[in-house]
């Protein structure tokens, strides 16, 4: 299928990414169109009745016990660690622009 500028803009909106209007968008849309066109090669393959394989995951552990962690990841961290990389924080909370 061919990808229109509108499609590219829509994908950008979904992904919260802006595209510079004008040349940037043209280039991007052109590249996306080329990629998607190439992907249409899949239409040549007969996949009727084929069970999709979402992951090559093999035998994995069953769900874990509902026990609070005693050490390491999965245990609550000191708050200063959780907030260490925050661009903006106040009183132990992450700060974001006011939500209306």
């Amino acid at each position: 299928m061919s990808v229109s500028k509108a499609t590219v803009l829509r994908a950008g909106r979904l992904a919260r990414l802006s595209l510079d209007e004008g040349a940037g968008l043209e280039d991007f849309a052109g590249q996306m169109a080329g990629i998607v066109e190439y992907m249409d090669i899949l239409n040549q393959a007969d996949t009727c009745g084929v069970e999709p394989m979402f992951s090559p995951m093999s035998r994995t552990a069953p769900p874990v016990q509902d026990e609070p962690a005693t050490a390491g990841a999965g245990q609550p961290c000191p708050r200063e660690d959780i907030l260490r990389n925050a661009p903006e924080q106040a009183d132990g909370l992450f700060v974001v622009p006011r939500i209306l």
């Binding site: 874990v64 509902d66 962690a69 990841a73």
Partner: protein, 481 residues
């Protein structure tokens, strides 16, 4: 059955109920699943969505979801899948919610309840597991703040079919679900803390028609009052539109409990595209037949069935049975007390008329009273056997709860032990008849109401400790014999 209260229109409602699960830890990490706390203190790289962190499923959350599903008669999908539901919001750490899409853990159930005096069957479309988001706080005019303590809390979402006909049924269904899920130990059911919230899908159609009208979805209602208020307002709003010949728009609406109004949040066209796809970080949830059977076998009796049994087999009245079943654990306590051999009615009376009022007076939850079911059973038995009168037992309740002394010991010390000794009572009865010959003659002449007078005389003589049934019997013997 058809709700035509809205002037020839029938209201059709389906609910999506989100319930936090009663686990010790979160759904995908082992941070504690506890309400509140200092902001961002129950958070780890996993539930904070830090780069490189990965989820690990909590088996207890799976078991509780299964328990809820089986109790609602759902069929279990032996292999279910977590998907990613993508949207951006500051309190959603990963930029997606990890939620079961297709297939969910349970689908296709049915629950039965009583609503407005009739039996109601509500079909359950599906039940699935997902994680909760954190919380955004908005104070004053300043920026918004994000607390992630709640992020990762395990939830089940229960989606009903549009089988509810009006706001009352919607509320009754929610009450029923809450009672059931609390009863099952699946959730604490604390609606003030957001343990249960629901979205109401509501539409109107002409009474007697089959085709559903266009529905609006009212999001995130967290009390019975707001479910009632929002549904009623929405029902009226849609009716006005339809009666004016207009069209209801398919949209998502928000309810403001302060104004009692709903307002549009977004239209169908603006509906988010969640881009669901299977979460590659999690294996399918695969359930052994043996686990399903174990959980099925461990299901408690459904509250409705139990209430009915209390009424039919144990002779309690509807109010007594409902009160015992409604309070978590109270029915178990009642049944444990019954093992002492006392009559069910007596035990119920003492729980509802002795224990609960005294606890209420003290501002305690009944579980905090420390009054064992064995002592309850014993107390009831003492009344049944005539050692203590019901009145005495109630009067002594405060002391009974404070001390370790049994009711008959307390009654003896106070001289309130019921006299069931036939010789002592016989003496008193004979004296009462002999001391009042005129009344005795009148009684014998047919004025049988005077029996009460003689009973009063005997009670006075025994300072109220006479077993009333025995006193009656003895007096009749002397008066009639």
């Amino acid at each position: 059955m058809v709700n035509t209260g809205a002037g020839g229109w029938e209201t059709v409602i389906g609910l999506e109920v989100h319930t936090q699960l009663n686990t010790r830890t979160k759904l995908f990490c082992r941070c504690p699943n506890v309400f509140g706390g200092e902001p961002n203190t129950r958070v780890c790289p996993v539930c904070a969505g830090m780069p490189g962190a990965l989820p690990v499923i909590n088996s207890q959350a799976v078991r509780l979801a299964l328990r809820a599903g089986l109790a609602m008669g759902c069929s279990v999908n032996r292999s279910s899948l977590f998907s990613r539901k993508s949207y951006f919001y500051p309190d959603l750490p990963n930029g997606y919610q990890t939620s079961q899409w297709e297939p969910p853990i349970c689908s296709g159930g049915r629950v039965a309840l009583r609503s407005g005096g009739h039996e109601l069957g509500v079909r359950i479309n599906r039940l699935h597991l997902e994680n909760d988001a954190g919380k955004c706080l908005h104070a004053g005019d300043g920026p918004s703040l994000v607390d992630l303590n709640r992020a990762g809390t395990p939830l089940i979402e229960i989606v009903s079919e549009p089988d509810l006909r009006g706001p009352e049924e919607a509320v009754d269904f929610m009450r029923h679900l809450r009672r059931l899920l609390v009863y099952l130990g699946v959730t604490d059911g604390n609606m003030e803390e957001g343990s249960m919230r629901c979205d109401v899908n509501i539409s109107l159609r002409r009474a007697g028609t089959e085709v559903y009208g266009t529905r609006a979805e009212i999001k995130n209602l967290n009390s019975f009052n707001s479910i009632m208020g929002a549904s009623r307002h929405e029902q009226e709003r849609q009716r006005e539109i339809l009666e004016a010949g207009g069209e209801v728009l398919q949209e998502t609406r928000h309810y403001d409990p302060d104004t009692g109004l709903t307002r549009s949040m977004r239209s169908k066209e603006e509906a988010p595209d969640y881009r669901y796809f299977p979460c590659p970080d999690l294996p399918p949830v695969v359930l052994d037949a043996s686990l399903i059977e174990e959980i099925r076998a461990g299901l408690p009796e459904a509250p409705e069935a139990r209430q009915k049994r209390f009424e039919d087999a144990l002779g309690l009245n509807v109010e007594e049975a409902a009160m015992l079943v409604d309070s978590p654990g109270l029915a178990d306590y009642f049944e444990a007390a019954l093992r002492g051999g006392a009559g069910a009615k007596r035990v119920a009376t003492l729980i509802l008329g002795g224990l609960l009022p005294e606890c209420a007076r003290r501002g305690l939850d009944w579980t905090e009273a420390g009054f064992s079911p064995e002592r309850m059973g014993h107390t009831a038995l003492m009344v049944d056997e005539g050692r203590v009168s019901l009145r005495t037992a109630r009067e002594l309740w405060a002391e009974l709860m404070d001390g370790g002394l049994e009711v008959e010991v307390l009654a003896e010390r106070k001289g309130l032990l019921q006299v069931s000794d036939a010789t002592a009572l016989e003496e008193a009865a004979r004296e009462a008849v002999e001391a009042n010959p005129a009344e005795a003659a009148a009684y014998r002449a047919g004025k049988t109401k005077l029996l009460a007078f003689f009973v009063g005389q005997v009670m006075k003589a025994t300072r109220g400790a006479g077993n009333p049934a025995l006193v009656n019997e003895l007096l009749k013997k002397y008066l009639e014999g």
